[in-house]
Subunit: 349 residues, 2 copies
Amino acid sequence: MAGIPNPATKRARIADVALEAGVARSTAALALRDSPRLRVETRLAVQQAAERLGYVYNRSAARLRSGRSYVIGMLVCEITNPFYAELTAGVQAALESAGYAVLLANTAESPVRQRRMLERFREQSVDGIIMMPATGTPASLLDELDEWGLPCVTVVRGFRRGAHAGPDNATGTRLATEHLLRLGHRDIAFLGGAARNSVSSGRWEGYARAMTASGLMPLHLPCRTDMGEASDFVATLTSAGPTALVCFNDSVAFGASLGLLRAGRQPGRDVALTGFDDIREASSWFPPLTTVRVAAVDIGIAGARILLDRIQDPSAPARRETLAPTLMVRASCGAGLRLPAARRKARTT
Amino acid sequence: MAGIPNPATKRARIADVALEAGVARSTAALALRDSPRLRVETRLAVQQAAERLGYVYNRSAARLRSGRSYVIGMLVCEITNPFYAELTAGVQAALESAGYAVLLANTAESPVRQRRMLERFREQSVDGIIMMPATGTPASLLDELDEWGLPCVTVVRGFRRGAHAGPDNATGTRLATEHLLRLGHRDIAFLGGAARNSVSSGRWEGYARAMTASGLMPLHLPCRTDMGEASDFVATLTSAGPTALVCFNDSVAFGASLGLLRAGRQPGRDVALTGFDDIREASSWFPPLTTVRVAAVDIGIAGARILLDRIQDPSAPARRETLAPTLMVRASCGAGLRLPAARRKARTT
DNA sequence: CCGCGTATTTAGATCGATCTACTACTTTGC
DNA sequence: GCAAAGTAGTAGATCGATCTAAATACGCGG
């Protein structure tokens, strides 16, 4: 009867629904959760009663009793990095369709903030954690979370142990380096990724192995992994420098190409570039960026799935998933680049 | 005594802390919330007892009784857009320092997903909502949220009414347009922002007014607001086209500059560009992007503050904050651009 | 028509905090 | 010296769901 929910009267509770449907409170609760223990008719009757009253489920109450919150805590090391933003979107979408909500915190690479947020997540009694550890996080954090009884999955970055989803970094840079070698480059340097973490070391290793396998010396050009830094750094390189750069990620490659332009050099012609991640902007860049594709969204989805399985069965061994990368060959490595100079001449004739 | 929290035994409750400290449960609760109703010594004793037991506050229980969750729901229309990513970081930081956690959902511009997530937020009994309405959201959504008793603030995008924090879009594009006019441009077009929302109309208006004030015809070049689209669109413009583009936002401006390069034209020399937002990448772009600065982070912080005030006093009238933009003059509008060609010549001498 | 197993439904305790209203004990005022 | 006011602490109800264990209904063989 009550049709329209009235803001003045209080929100309907499960007891009200039970009354309206003419069943017991516990029956109503079961019906609203679609329990097979109830007859279909009963379930339907209760659900219709709930509809009539404009009943809204109160997960806070459920959470207190059942201990399950259907909330996952997510720690992102730097949400303003487009790769992590995409990954966040992937995680969120995957968890959303499994009925979970996502508590998000940006650690901005600070282990202190990271710790504070983990504690807050614990107070909020999240069902699990999905995180990219801030640079400098000790692996012992996993033990602590374990002690807290909080299932955890690392994504992209991780530790030697523990549930994890991430790209095969070494294979990725190996593919990129081998491609450049095939194109005839010999003086190839690795740009960016100074931080000592699993991602940096993996990407460096893939590059370095490919170089030494060809009898060449690997060279590390360290710079912070953002566009501005990379741009400044590359602008200082002279024409005597490397003819090709394997960049730590796409942002660094973008920075490198802008730096080259600033120095009056043409990315893709004067210096070949490869990136890593294949973020959305990579293909529409000029020149389009040759890069290692590891769909951030897919990593997010994989991480979410591992976490959900882990929540279901916390005793199962920690699963680790390494996503195979593919090389997206575009123009920035020198193949098939249409140069502005050439175009300009063509246009004026 | 119990020193180390034992994962085998259950988590300590407030009753355990009370026992350890030799006070009543309600006293312990007050002490843990630092209530001034208690003597300092009592508070300290309880807090130390909590420390000893490794007590962790259970907000789920508190939330059930008190109705306050210290969780805010945030709806982002497109988290992979760097501007919104920065805004998200701002909101998150501001709310975090006020003791709140943020439930995040990416609507990907879908009103359906937006609605679903709002309902989920409601179930989770968030204390408030901070959102950028997906394109096509009716203003009546505000009434619904009101009926639900959920305080809400819109950021960046919004409606005619309701609490809001956002940039002064019209002033921003007016500044940019006037700057281009001062530089002698007459054939200036507005690029991007086809969607019919408050942001698009505001930015178009500022541009159009400045044009008509100078006796010029405003021209809208509609294209979707992402880098790839803008790049494709601009690549088709001929040299007979406009000499300057006021772009809807930085991403569009980036796309435009890449599109010009593809067409063999030089952004900043052949065509002047201005952006909007001043995202991190704008200053390290080549050429550095002249753009309207409205710190995304500041909008996020302003939005968070308005929401928190609104939660404190829901009966107060909805506050609206418009952040004044400033024009960041850089090279992309043609002033002080050092051209690659010139540089290249200088380097070879 | 009884007993037994299975399918449904239910009563009442429970999760862990907060809130209200009350007690006990000081202090103050006159 | 006694009421009024103030201070510090407490008992017990309460939030709204879930869980456990038990009651009831139903079907069927004998």
